[in-house]
């Protein structure tokens, strides 16, 4: 199964959240690939704590692969090559977790027919090798989005299941932007249909993840005044109405990730250790990630809303 991670704007926590989903699935025994198609700003190396390993792959990343300069993109075995002390002790019975980094210093680039064919080659190969392939896409209506829309519409990929996760923050601007990315004229659905996707099927394969959502019930805000609590409550309701009006209401939400400093500031994987022993991360955050990871392949959360 392919999972594409998209967002209209930067700062939605798309990369760090999708990396955490990949990590969670690997913990449950799946073989997981994380493909960094965030061509403008590849950041996965930092999230998986593999900067040293990535340094050796400057000219052998996904950019070079798609441009045909190398035949196979570099791959980094996260369990083996991470500098994160906890990750290195690969949990027993976990699946493989492999990062496909972009080139260091690679920019956004126009993709041609050859790059598309190579993209399909890669996705098919990974599909034969991994249970789950998470593809992190550059923000906005990018070349990366175009390329994977074209790739998944290609006859060669007709039997490969895929799903989209669209990440957005829980603000007016982000809600409107995320809806635009999916529903506007040349958005994911419109662009996908132009490339040969069936509109209904594509729509059924898109879900939203609300990121950095402050939970009014959270102990984080329990010190606030009653007025503040009431205000938060009403804002939250207003946002829900706005989201529903923009066709990204609760029925198409796969999950909600609470506002979590560790994701906002450190951009790292959240381990049980972070929650249980050092307590730098919130239990709710970890649970939310585990639940979204589980729902990725739970068909009852997908399909026509």
């Amino acid at each position: 199964m392919l999972v594409f991670a998209a967002s209209d704007k930067g700062g939605t926590g798309r990369s760090v959240t999708s990396a955490n989903l990949a990590y969670q699935r690997a913990l449950t025994g799946d073989h997981v690939a994380y493909v960094d198609f965030d061509f403008g700003s590849p950041t996965a190396a930092a999230v998986f704590d593999v900067p040293g390993a990535v340094r050796g792959t400057e000219e052998r990343g996904l950019h070079s692969y798609l441009e045909g300069e190398i035949a196979e993109p570099a791959r980094i075995d996260v369990w083996r090559q991470t500098e994160h002390p906890l990750l290195r002790a690969r949990p027993n019975q976990s699946g493989r977790l492999v990062l496909f980094p972009g080139d260091a210093g690679g920019g956004e680039f126009a993709t041609d027919e050859d790059a598309l064919e190579r993209c399909i080659d890669l996705l098919l190969r990974l599909n034969g090798e991994f249970d789950l392939i998470v593809v992190d896409l550059s923000a906005g209506r990018s070349y990366a989005v175009d390329m994977v829309l074209a790739a998944t519409a290609h006859p060669r990929m007709r039997n490969v299941p895929f799903r989209w996760l669209v990440f957005h923050r829980w603000t007016r601007q982000h809600v409107i932007a995320a809806s635009g990315l999916v529903h506007k004229e040349h958005g994911i659905i419109g662009g996908g249909v132009e490339r040969g996707h069936d509109e209904g099927a594509l729509r059924a394969a898109i879900r939203f993840v609300r990121a950095a959502v402050p939970d009014p019930e959270s102990p984080l805000w329990s010190q606030g005044s009653p007025a503040q609590a009431a205000w938060m409550q009403s804002c939250d309701e207003a946002l829900r109405r706005l989201a529903a009006e923009h066709r990204i209401g609760d029925s198409v939400v796969l999950g909600v990730v609470p506002l979590e400093p560790i994701l906002q500031w450190r951009e790292q994987l959240i381990t049980e250790e972070d929650v249980l022993s050092t307590q730098i991360a919130n239990k709710e955050t970890l649970e939310a990630l585990e639940e979204i990871a589980r729902r990725l392949t739970d068909d009852s959360y997908w399909g026509q809303p």
Binding site: M1, G29, D30, A71, Q93, R156, T297
Partner: protein, 334 residues
């Protein structure tokens, strides 16, 4: 004498093989296999039904003009062609194999291209060839810009995997492997021998051989294709069993669980029974002179011994799960 035989005798042969599961729900029948491997409109695909179904493409050539990798840093440029072919065993295992041979010495400058094309699979070094150093260099993998036959095998594999015959629905998850080999001349009148078979990285194996002078490189490549095929089978079964949780605990949350409620173990092992277990057949197509080399591997580490143990384990698991739970004293795990 044929022009390709008028070339000086090879002192080094080498190659690389990619082995993978054919990404198709059903194994290809002989006709479909011939279609997949018909790399040339005017050359037949070799088809054989004994002792197993086997199809092999005609050779294709790739032009090369680059330095050779060498263990001691010697810089030797070589020009010529690398031959590559693809084979499909039982319509299920796809292999691409690229190989070359090198004579002890060659002309000091590049010849017109037609000179090389009538010597298919021959690379001519500029000057004298330090064959021991180059053999080790090939096994170690060269630096960027040095001869990389793996790219040629990989390129052919990519081309075949784009074929519209393939529905891209592999019956089980597996990883392709690479096997790199070199063959140096045997001492005196000694027979062929395997000097070393190494499991290098996750997917890379290297094989170092000694063969009597005059052994056709295509035969050596054929032996190595056979080694690669069986090594892939072993590797794939080991990983398959490795990924299954035996004993207590929840079954792994594999993507796309089976529609019925068969235990996860059965769901995971069933494809191996359907698609892999009948493929073990060492030496099926190895040249008679080279077939004895298998004996060394059967001795240590014992390829067939390990295979039989794995097969037995799979059958035991399936048998256990086939017993109605009513009659089981204890639930089989999981």
């Amino acid at each position: 004498m044929a022009p390709h035989e008028s070339a000086p005798r090879a002192v080094l042969a080498g190659g690389e093989i990619r082995t993978c599961l054919l990404p198709a729900r059903q194994a290809l029948d002989v006709r479909a296999a011939a279609q997949l491997l018909g790399l040339r409109a005017d050359e037949r695909v070799l088809l054989s039904e004994r002792p197993n179904l086997y199809a092999r493409s005609p050779d294709t050539l790739t032009g090369i003009d680059c330095p050779l990798p060498s263990a001691n840093g010697a810089h030797v440029r070589a020009v010529g062609t690398v031959a590559a072919r693809a084979a499909l065993t039982e319509g299920r295992i796809l292999q691409t194999s690229a190989y070359f041979r090198l004579p002890a010495s060659g002309p000091d400058q590049r010849q017109p291209w037609g000179h090389y094309l009538v010597r298919p699979g021959l690379l001519e070094p500029f000057g004298k060839l330090p064959h021991e150093a180059v053999a080790q260099g090939v096994l170690d993998g060269g630096r960027h810009g040095e001869l990389d036959v793996g790219l040629i095998a990989g390129g052919l594999l990519t081309r075949l995997l784009r074929h519209p015959l393939l529905d891209q629905r592999p019956p089980l998850r597996s990883r392709p492997t690479r096997l790199r080999w070199v063959a140096l001349p045997a001492e005196g009148d000694q027979g062929p021998s395997i000097e070393r078979f190494t499991l290098a990285e996750d997917e890379l194996r290297t094989v170092r051989l000694r063969v009597p002078e005059g052994t056709p490189p295509a035969d050596v490549a054929g032996l190595c294709d056979d080694l690669a095929l069986h090594d892939w089978l072993l590797t794939t079964l080991v990983r398959l069993l490795d990924g299954i949780r035996l004993g207590s605990g929840p079954p792994p949350a594999r993507v796309g669980p089976p529609a019925d409620d068969r235990p996860a173990v059965v769901a995971a092992l069933r494809p191996a029974v359907d698609h892999l277990l009948h493929l073990w057949m060492p030496r099926a197509r190895v040249a008679k002179e080279l077939a004895p080399l298998w004996e060394a591997l059967e001795e240590r580490p014992g390829f067939t011994r390990q295979w039989q143990a794995l097969v037995q384990r799979i059958r035991d698991q399936l048998t256990l799960h086939a017993i109605p739970s009513l009659y089981r004293e204890v639930e089989p795990a999981p």
